[in-house]
Symmetry: C2
Subunit: 342 residues, 2 copies
């Protein structure tokens, strides 16, 4: 941080720094001629007041934070894109923090931010988050907060999600319709409400097809090697599934990798449906049937809601719990006519 | 921003806010017993001083900024990952700004940040940046700055890049070795030094193969539809290329899309090599021969260098111009034996 601009102004004008500072604040004890000279040069040099001094005076940081589990995922990067665009247009600055699915990290980031560094927070929880005191403490500090994607239902704050249960039901139902008899559900481990909602949709479809006693629920983690081991074990079983529904994109990549390795043909021997926002999903071998989330819109909605809270505008009832629709895009990976060309 | 914590402390202790504040600063006019009571509760409640007041006192913001053209790209998100990890471990906050390849946006972000909001800046230029006054003004303000990926060679600041020319030569040479006779180079438009370096590698390979008069250099942009139109025109030509080298990943996706549409078989009728950091590239149809950049390491190196500048540590000569090696990963899309299975 530097005060270069104020110093340069004073030096160039041959004035005291305090005089320049008062002239810029339109102080009554500075003559009009001096004010005009100072302002003219300030404009020319692009002078701006120190933002932190302004923050303290106005009790406002013009900064918001986004906390997400990871960024190497098209879903979160599209969300960030939506957030940054709206924030920039409002003259706000965006701090970004990654938890890497680590609850302790999430906790310490929140504690660090609670002291007034930001005017508001948008957060998608880590999958290892099981207690919510850190979120309650934030809430108690009365700083605006919006949950998106992986939300915390026990804390009273606006949430932006998608129709997880409905679209997961639809995806699983589509696998049944394509001829699958035994469908596995792959998700991140942990107790995330989003995972539970997606699983609920899967279970509903199982029930509808009279398969409620044949659930195959597999919990994976962050590490690709470990995930591949888990999936290898699943696909080597005698009664291996003929359909897989993965709750996150990276698990679909793991399924494709292991299938290739074990020479299991997708979709002939294994059909795959996954949540995915990858622009390359149509180019996969075979093209991946995807549940596409409105990620950019989720980001825009989250930050717009946050600004309403910051500006102390009242939220309408539906704005407190926004659910944006995802849609199923059928491609070759779940095709019921395996011999046909896509 | 709020002063909630200080207020809560004062209320809980039944003391004036100013007393609490002075006790925390170990002021000599507050008794030891009061100081102990205040500190004990402060610790219990996780009180932290206002960061902006601290910033002003210490003339340090503990905040750095990263400016990138886009984030929906595995390369930039891996870089951000590397940066955020090191910054978090140093107790620094990371502001993120996206230019969306817009020079005016880049300029105004830099101007906005020059007033002391950040202790340092890492930037990868937009492809529409043609003049460098905004970067020179930053340099003149003596705030630490590091360029990565798309650097500005006219400004004296450390740069972190990869061996673009060498690896582009290698990629193009590989296409010739696989049997290509006519190779096109696809890149973003604009005057970026990185594009010029990659093009130089392509041209060197052409020259080595006696094809210096057969260069096919195609400039694309941000818009996927427009890019597909440009590529469609290229691939419908009578003397269409039998090899394509794309300088960025998204253009490879465009080439795959158009080839599929025009029923041009990759690699039989068209071989493709691209810069790409997508973990899904091996799953493409066919798997994409990729030049993989050490993105995570570029991020880590950029932020480590920035911290050295912030801490006023001297840089060794090689630290001022770091070049990290990329590598070519050959896959089916450029295979010289088109009939064989991958």
């Amino acid at each position: 941080m530097n005060n270069m601009n104020l110093k340069i102004l004073a030096r160039e004008l041959n004035l005291a720094i305090s005089t320049v500072s008062r002239a810029l604040r339109d102080s009554h004890d500075i003559g009009q001629e001096t004010k005009d000279r100072v302002r003219a040069l300030a404009e020319k040099l692009g002078y701006q007041p120190n933002p932190y001094a302004s923050s303290l005076r106005q009790n406002k940081s013009n900064t918001i934070a986004i906390i997400i589990p990871e960024i190497e995922n098209n879903f979160f990067s599209q969300i960030l894109n939506g957030i940054e665009l709206v924030a920039q247009s409002k003259g706000y600055h965006v701090l970004i923090y990654l938890t890497h699915e680590d609850f302790q990290k999430e906790k310490s980031i929140l504690q660090l931010l609670r002291n007034g560094r930001v005017d508001g927070l948008m957060i998608s929880l880590s999958n290892s988050t099981k207690t919510y005191e850190h979120l309650q403490a934030w809430k108690d500090a009365e700083i605006p907060m919006v949950f998106f994607d992986r939300v915390c239902e026990g804390i009273d704050a606006p949430t932006i999600t998608t129709n997880d249960t409905e679209v997961s039901y639809k995806g699983t139902e589509h696998l049944f319709a394509s001829g699958c008899k035994r469908i596995a559900f792959l998700s991140l481990s942990g107790d995330l409400s989003i995972t539970n909602r997606r699983k609920a949709g899967y279970l509903q479809a199982l029930k509808k097809n009279g398969k409620e006693n044949e659930q195959v629920v597999i919990e994976c983690g962050e590490d690709n090697e470990e995930n591949n081991t888990i999936i290898r074990k699943l696909l080597r079983k005698k009664n291996r599934p003929d359909g897989v529904f993965t709750a996150i994109e990276k698990l679909a990549i793991n399924v494709y990798e292991v299938s290739k390795e074990l020479k299991i043909e997708i979709p002939d021997q294994l059909k795959v449906v996954s949540f995915s926002n990858s622009p390359a999903a149509p180019l996969f071998c075979p093209p991946l049937t995807s549940i596409i989330q409105p990620a950019y819109e989720i980001g825009k909605e989250a930050v717009t809601t946050l600004f309403k809270l910051i500006d102390k505008k009242p939220l309408l009832k539906y704005e407190k719990k926004v659910i944006l629709p995802s849609h199923l895009c059928e491609r070759k990976s779940s095709s019921g006519k395996p011999k046909s060309k896509s």
